[in-house]
């Protein structure tokens, strides 16, 4: 199984390269995933990362892009709750990249 090395500690990854145990997530883990995704984390990125993590803790599921947009629009306003803004921050797919950086399972691709 693939691993992510953070502070000399190996963390198991799932088949898709996402953190296998979401409890082991911390700031350094997020930064390491961001490096792999070629993303330099700014405050705007962190806001989304914390948002999807909070979303998961509340609803027990990783948000697909459509839901992420809607939920962010409700909580943070239309400036941030739109797919253009999210794609600017996470060009390879906001739901896919933000959930990985947030240490969550990959969202279902059929939704």
């Amino acid at each position: 199984m693939a691993e992510l090395i953070v502070n000399d500690t190996p963390l198991a990854l799932d088949k898709h390269g996402y953190l296998a145990n979401m409890q082991l997530w911390n700031k350094q883990v997020a930064e390491e995933f961001a490096r792999l995704e070629n993303i330099a984390l700014t405050n705007a990125h962190w806001e989304v990362v914390h948002f999807v993590r909070q979303f998961y803790l509340e609803f027990n599921t990783s948000p697909a892009i459509r839901v992420l947009v809607k939920a962010m629009a409700q909580q943070l306003g239309p400036d941030k709750g739109n797919s253009k803004y999210l794609f600017m921050l996470f060009p390879q797919g906001p739901a896919k990249q933000a959930t990985r950086i947030a240490g969550l399972p990959k969202p279902a691709k059929c939704l």
């Binding site: 609803f59 027990n60 839901v67 809607k70 409700q74 279902a108 939704l111």
Partner: protein, 118 residues
């Protein structure tokens, strides 16, 4: 746009039917059909407040029912008789639901274009 009813009949403890039915509900709502959900028979157990019931080795997907609001699913109903038979109070359920008797259920069905059951 269609009126589509998702009929939930399965207990959350025995199989993954309820879990996959939830994905179906959310997919239907996301393309803006008018969605109703009816929990009947053992599916009313899906509505009990659950945390991670790790003993069952199943995902605690009923926690995602709180997403119904976000998806604008307004018609979330539960069969009155199914609750009564199992000694469950509507007030103890994890989300707000409309309790329907047999007539109410018949009216709900009559309004639908499609019904999908799990």
């Amino acid at each position: 746009m269609r009126n589509i009813l998702l009929l939930q009949r399965s207990s959350p403890f025995n199989d993954g039917k309820g879990r996959e039915a939830l994905d179906m509900i959310l997919a239907m709502a996301a393309v803006e059909h008018s969605i109703s959900v009816l929990f009947s028979a053992d599916a009313v157990y899906q509505l009990l407040p659950t945390q991670d019931h790790t003993d069952f080795k199943l995902k605690a997907y009923p926690r995602s029912f709180k997403l119904f609001d976000l998806y604008d699913i307004e018609q979330v109903c539960v069969c009155q008789q199914a609750l009564k038979q199992r000694g469950i109070n509507a007030a103890d359920l994890s989300i707000d639901v409309t309790v329907l008797d047999a007539n109410g259920i018949a009216e709900l069905f009559a309004r639908q274009h499609q019904v999908i059951s799990s």
